[in-house]
Symmetry: C2
Subunit: 336 residues, 2 copies
DNA sequence: TTGTACGCGTTATCAC
DNA sequence: GTGATAACGCGTACAA
């Protein structure tokens, strides 16, 4: 086995006939060297393929040029879109990124905080699955940003969220404007970590127009499991019991697709008889038949803005404490 | 601003009245300490919330307990499934993971190799988008695993791949067994980095049964762009020209969904008139109508096995040089 | 403009 | 079983 001896800054200094200090200055562009020495040093670095040792650099400068992103599950359109935009942002800022999957396991989340702390990351963005944050997430004084989900105690940390309640309100209002009167709300099984005020957006819009809407009556709560299936059967039952429906607001695109399947089986036409809104603008909303109107939370904006904010905090720049990004309605065939 | 002074191992040593060496031994469970000292030290660590400094540890031990995963795009079912399984594997092995998105940009890939090198990762798994690898990917002698895609020169590196050609062969054979005779193959725009022998699986199966199949005739090559759209229009054109079709093999689920839309517009029934196979078992294959038969490459197996192999290499254990994971057919309504 | 020398927090090697 | 101390590679204050 050929042993590649790793070169250090000392070797480069010797090979180019200067001191380590000069090499360091050249690498970090911190000035104090002549054009010629720079050329000379860069040549040597290039020729020998020298790569500086980031662990030593971090130790010395107590900054690793590294950040962490903790999220529930990267195998999910919404979160992975966030991850991509965070990744792109920090790549172009020359930071490396740790992406950490918690699988919605609070204990795993805590383990990751600890590990990132040990890695001396310069900051952390977290989509938390904890109901309540511990006061000592990390041992050092680094910036942490709460993204999308807000635990009960936000501990004075910076918070970046979308406004789904408002989005639901807008979608409901839009259906009302189009003449729907019997609009129902389909809601997923609620995990405990989601502080869901989404249904309130629906209720508010309905009540403002004097339309009937009530938890336990026009709000269908699905059991845990595949929402695409549950939405279909639950809706069929509901309509078969004689309840009138001419509009449906869902909390996921899959629910909406399931609901549309149910309507089809009942012989009801979308959007002529019933108009349907999904949620999250997932891929499938563009390819189902009819194409699905939906509510977009702009994951890439969420990612980009929280990244920018984190970087500002790392650089000790002042930032907003609470940033809310509004949702936008995407209207397609299902509400035409 | 309250300055959290970060404690070092020296502080812990002083606070518990032992030497730094002993503290280190306790932390790393490297033996040579009594039950009581252990207790004492652990108490202090707990009380003061001490977190060891991984950058210093890496510098000293020249092992960062960190690995890198380089892939084209995490916002993609197949790749993100791989990422999740790699993540889970290394989390349980107590390694931290850098996930790097290249966006299929070879230059970005090279930049990430460099950065991971500088981070002193202990190993790298890469789904490469390079046609040809450079000989000096990294400056150190660390294990690298080529996953899924194989550049022309694999440079004696360990390779883990699925066998899509074989999978296509099996799918084609399956349609033939079900009585299809005029089977066509729809192929995506070919990025240069994909050494695609998939079509060969189709051609072999057809020729073995004496059925007509030929590049340029029964193989439809789609232009770059949304394959769901192109597949639909291209197929409609093809059939309208009078070509008989009773089976379709696609190289992605989206193509298949587009193709089924085209068939529907032509009044052809799936699976009665035409049977359709997709590829990759993406989410949408389970929810389209009819549900889509497809070929599964087992991303989680690919991730797990390449992770295990990388870890073995890091520990200098012997491993296979080339590992192939076979595809499996998932039969749903579209080939009933 | 350049070089010398020290310290960052940890682990490994010795001694005891 | 425990302690002292020399590395690891780099950045930087200071001297030259």
């Amino acid at each position: 086995m050929k042993e590649k001896k790793t070169l250090s800054i000392i070797d480069i200094a010797r090979l180019s006939g200067v001191s380590t200090a000069t090499v360091s200055h050249v690498i970090n562009k911190s000035g104090r060297f002549s054009k010629e020495t720079e050329e000379k040093v860069r040549n040597v670095i290039e020729r020998y393929g020298y790569v500086s040792n980031n662990t030593a650099r971090s130790l010395r400068s107590s900054s690793s040029h590294t950040v962490g992103l903790i999220l529930p599950n990267i195998n999910n359109d919404f979160f992975s879109s966030i991850a991509v935009s965070v990744e792109q942002f920090f790549d172009s800022s020359d930071y490396a990124l740790f992406i950490c999957n918690t699988d919605n396991d609070p204990q795993k989340e805590r383990r990751y905080f600890h590990r990132l702390d040990s890695m001396r990351v310069d900051g952390i963005i977290v989509i938390s699955c904890q109901k309540m944050l511990e006061s000592d997430l990390v041992s050092r004084n680094i910036p942490i940003i709460l993204l999308d989900r807000t635990p009960m105690n936000s501990m004075d940390l910076c918070v970046v969220t979308s406004d789904p309640k408002r989005g639901i309100y807008e979608a409901t209002s839009s259906l009302i404007r189009k003449g729907c009167r019997n609009i129902i709300f389909i809601s997923s099984f609620l995990a405990t970590y989601v502080k869901s005020d989404r249904v309130d957006g629906y209720l508010e819009a309905m009540h403002e127009h004097g339309l009937p809407a009530e938890r336990g009556k026009t709000v269908l709560q699905l059991p845990q499991g595949p929402s695409i299936v549950h939405a279909e059967t639950r809706l069929i039952d509901f309509i078969s019991e004689g309840n009138p429906v001419d509009g449906i607001i869902c909390t996921s695109d899959n629910q909406a697709i399931g609901a549309m399947a149910g309507l089809r089986r009942l012989g009801l036409k979308v959007p002529q008889d019933v108009k349907v809104f999904g949620f999250d603008n997932q891929f499938q909303s563009r390819i189902c038949t009819p194409t699905l109107s939906t509510i977009e939370r702009s994951p890439s904006s969420l990612g980009k803005i929280s990244s920018q904010t984190l970087l500002d905090l790392i650089h000790n720049k002042p930032t907003e404490k609470k940033i809310t990004i509004s949702c936008s309605l995407i209207e397609r065939e299902s509400t035409k």
